[in-house]
Structure formats: C-alpha cells, structure tokens
C-alpha cells in the first residue's frame, strides 16, 4: 500500500500531476491539487513517481 500526501499550501496548479496520474490527482475549482484517492495500486506507481518528480513545487510526497 502506498500513501500519498499533497501540500496545497505550496501547490501552484501546474497540473503536471494530473497529466502523470489522473486516477489519483485532480485540480479543484481553485485550480489546486486534490486527491481523488490517497493511495495507488502497484500498477500506478510509475505514474505516481512521475507526478512527484514533475511537480515543480515538490508538493507531492508518498511512502511506498
């Protein structure tokens, strides 16, 4: 089980995470990141890694 956390106080709404893993990440009406779910199935791990890597403000953390 992987647990994901996002920091909405640093998020700037670039949306790279949504491109990387739309099943987990979304942008709300303010344009800031929200989690559709806070974990990811093993098949989504690459997408999660990319979402964290490509977040310019490093607002995504996760524990594998």
């Amino acid at each position: 089980m992987t647990t994901i956390k996002v920091d909405r106080s640093t998020c700037q709404g670039y949306g790279n995470c949504v491109l990387a893993l739309a099943s987990v990440f979304d942008l709300d009406e303010e344009g800031l990141v929200v989690l559709r779910r806070d974990d990811v199935e093993p098949g989504g791990l690459d997408g999660l890694r990319r979402a964290a890597y490509d977040c310019p403000t490093e607002s995504i953390t996760f524990v594998e």
């Binding site: 790279n16 491109l19 690459d46 890694r49 964290a52 490509d54």
Partner: protein, 375 residues
C-alpha cells in the same frame, strides 16, 4: 550532500550546477552594433558544422551554404576530399553558384562575364584574358574557406587563427567521437525562422527546467529534467540527462553516452542532442539582430541490437515527430519575444544555478567581445 527526490539519487548540487546565479543586460539581445561585432568577432572565429557529409557524397557533388552574410561553395573533389570556397567571382564580385547538385563538367561559370572556376575554386578560364593585367590573373581563385570533414559533417571556419577542429572542440569533440558518427545517417531535416535574437534561441535549449512547463505533455515524459548534470568546458558547455525509463535500466559501464541523453553546445551556435542510438543536431544562424534561422537534423546510427531495419525506420520517424513537437513548443515561446523584446519592463535576465550553461555561454561571448563579464 546527496539529495533524494522521489527515490532518485541526485548529484551534489554544486556538482550538478557549477556556476552561481548571474544577471545579463537585455541589450545583448537588442543592440545592433553588438550584433555586428558578434558576427565578426565570434562567428568569424569559430568552427561550425554546415552540411552533412552525405550532401556531397559523390565526386563533383556540390552544395552552396548561405548564412551569416557569407556564401560558400562546398564540393567533393575527385580524390574524395572536400573543397570549400567563397561563392564570389574574382572579377567583380558576382555570385557564382546556386543550389546543389552534381557538376558533371566540373566547371562553374560566372553568369556575368563568364569567368570559369574548377571544383576547387581555382579560375580555369578568363574571357578576354589578354585585356586583363596578367599578374592579377596568375593563380587566381575564389578564396578558399578552411574546412574539415569530421563526425559525418562538413565544418567551416573563416579564420586562420582558430586551432584545428578537434582541438577547438576539446572535450566535447572527444565526447562526440565516442558515438561513431561517421557510421550515422542523416534521415530528416527542417528549418524554422524564429523572431528572436540568435542567443535567445541558443539559451532556450541549454537548460532543462523549462521542461515541466513548456513541454509538460511531451519532453517531460522522456527526460529526467531535474537530474541534468551541467559541464562547463569553455568555450563549449554540455550536460548529461537521464532518460526516463531507460537510464535506470541501462547497463552502466561508466560511459554516460550509453545510458543518458548527452547534450552538447559546440560554441557558438550548434547543439548536438545525443541519445545512445541517434541524435538531433541543430544550429541557430543569425539573420538579423532579432531574427534567427534554426536548421535541425535527425541523424541515426545503425539499428540497435539487431533491430529489423523496418522497425528502426519507424522508430526514427517517431523520434523525429516527437522532436518536431518539442521544437514547435519552444518556437512558440521564442517567437513571442518579438512582441515584448522592446518592452520597458524587460531590462535584464536573471540566470539561476540551473542555468549555469547560459551564464557560461554569455561570459564566453562577452570575453570574446572584450566586454566585462556579466554580473
């Protein structure tokens, strides 16, 4: 200190980004006097690749190269060597040759008064010969242009005071040599006219942290933009960049060329962006202070690991199409400079440490122009 980001081991920051932040006055992109000095002090004292060798593959093949206010005829001589010479008649300066092709009779005739030039640029026939000062005709030729054929490219240099090509290229020449480029083939090419100073164009390709913004849907899927390691080897710069999903699985034998995207700026205006099996090369040719012609090529090696030729062809096409997409994204940003370059709100660039290659590039230019280093 080694940082960890999303499980990826990074190089120490000071190794990754070698130079401190710097400032650069906007006038370096807009001053027409400086632009003219850049042409004479920088472009006339550098080596640059101008055509793939295959453009003049056979004896008597020729091609004309027109950039930076110069026109040069490049020919393949019967002995297999390359000749390059200024494309101007020594009678009254008319243009001699246009286009490209195979010169079957090995003669280029001036369209104005019929002076005839051989494949090597020597004058072989002069109409009304007796009416000229014989001393002026003795040994007359279109002035030769220094050239070398190396790495699958024909390189030109307009000055005698520049060292031979490999010495000029230094470390990046050693790097490029490791790819075996003589066995590569030019598959695709394009050119695009951009409405920005040539240095804005070069700057645009020499850092990676615009990738998650400009290329979030394209290049971000291909390269690990955070993990570029920048190298300053004046006058050139280069960087290694992990390829997503490839570098971590590649066999690491100590040669980054086999596992990374390696990206070289051959000063002043040519970039070789080398994957282990193929590369894209592009040159930014100044047209005016605010316009640049970017000429780009896809150059591929032999099919890797016994891949069937047909499949390799498809990969080549896909790689080129992806490159064109990325180039279009960069071009959109660069072209928009035409709309704001005169803005009173744009006075200077501030480069961060991730833009160390840009700092080094502009320092090199300033040095060659006899200016103080950028702040």
């Amino acid at each position: 200190m080694t940082q960890t980001r999303s499980g990826t081991e990074l190089a120490p920051a000071e190794q990754q980004y070698p130079l401190p932040p710097s400032l650069l006055d906007k006038s370096v992109y807009t001053d027409p006097d400086r632009y003219r000095r850049e042409l004479t002090e920088i472009f006339h004292h550098a080596w640059f690749p101008v055509h793939p060798s295959s453009d003049v593959a056979r004896p008597r093949d020729y091609v004309v190269w027109d950039q930076i206010g110069q026109s040069v005829v490049i020919t393949r001589l019967p002995d297999g060597t390359v000749s390059a010479w200024h494309n101007v008649c020594q009678h009254r300066g008319a243009r001699l040759v246009n286009g490209s092709g195979n010169c079957g009779n090995a003669r280029f005739t001036c369209p104005w008064h019929g002076f005839v030039y051989g494949l090597d640029g020597a004058v072989s026939s002069v109409p009304l010969r007796g009416s000229f000062d014989a001393a002026e005709l003795d040994g007359l030729r279109a002035p030769a242009v220094r050239n070398e054929e190396w790495g699958g490219w024909i390189w030109l240099c307009f000055s005698d005071d520049v060292p031979p090509l490999r010495e000029y290229l230094g470390e990046i020449g050693q790097e490029l040599a490791g790819y075996g480029l003589d066995g590569f083939t030019t598959k695709f090419r394009t050119s695009v006219r951009l409405k920005a100073n040539w240095k804005i164009v070069v700057d645009g390709f020499n850092e990676t942290w615009h990738v998650p913004f400009t290329h979030k849907d394209t290049l971000a899927g291909l390269v690990m933009w955070r993990d570029a390691i920048l190298k300053i080897t004046p006058p050139h710069t280069w960087m290694t960049l992990p390829i997503r999903g490839f570098t971590d699985k590649a066999i690491h034998n100590g040669d980054h060329r086999a596992s990374h995207l390696c990206h070289y700026l051959a000063f002043p205006n040519t970039i070789f962006s080398c994957f282990p099996t193929h590369l894209q090369m592009w040159s930014a040719w100044p047209i005016s202070v605010g316009e640049t012609l970017l000429c780009a090529y896809e150059v591929v090696g032999p099919p890797p690991n016994g891949m069937p030729a047909e499949k390799w062809e498809r990969h080549n096409r896909r790689d080129w199409d992806q490159f064109l997409e990325v180039l279009a994204e960069d071009s959109a940003v660069i072209d928009d400079f035409a709309t704001v370059i005169g803005s009173l709100g744009f006075t200077r660039n501030m480069f961060n440490t991730a833009e160390s290659r840009l700092t080094a590039f502009h320092e090199e230019i300033a040095k060659r122009l006899g200016e103080g280093a950028p702040r």
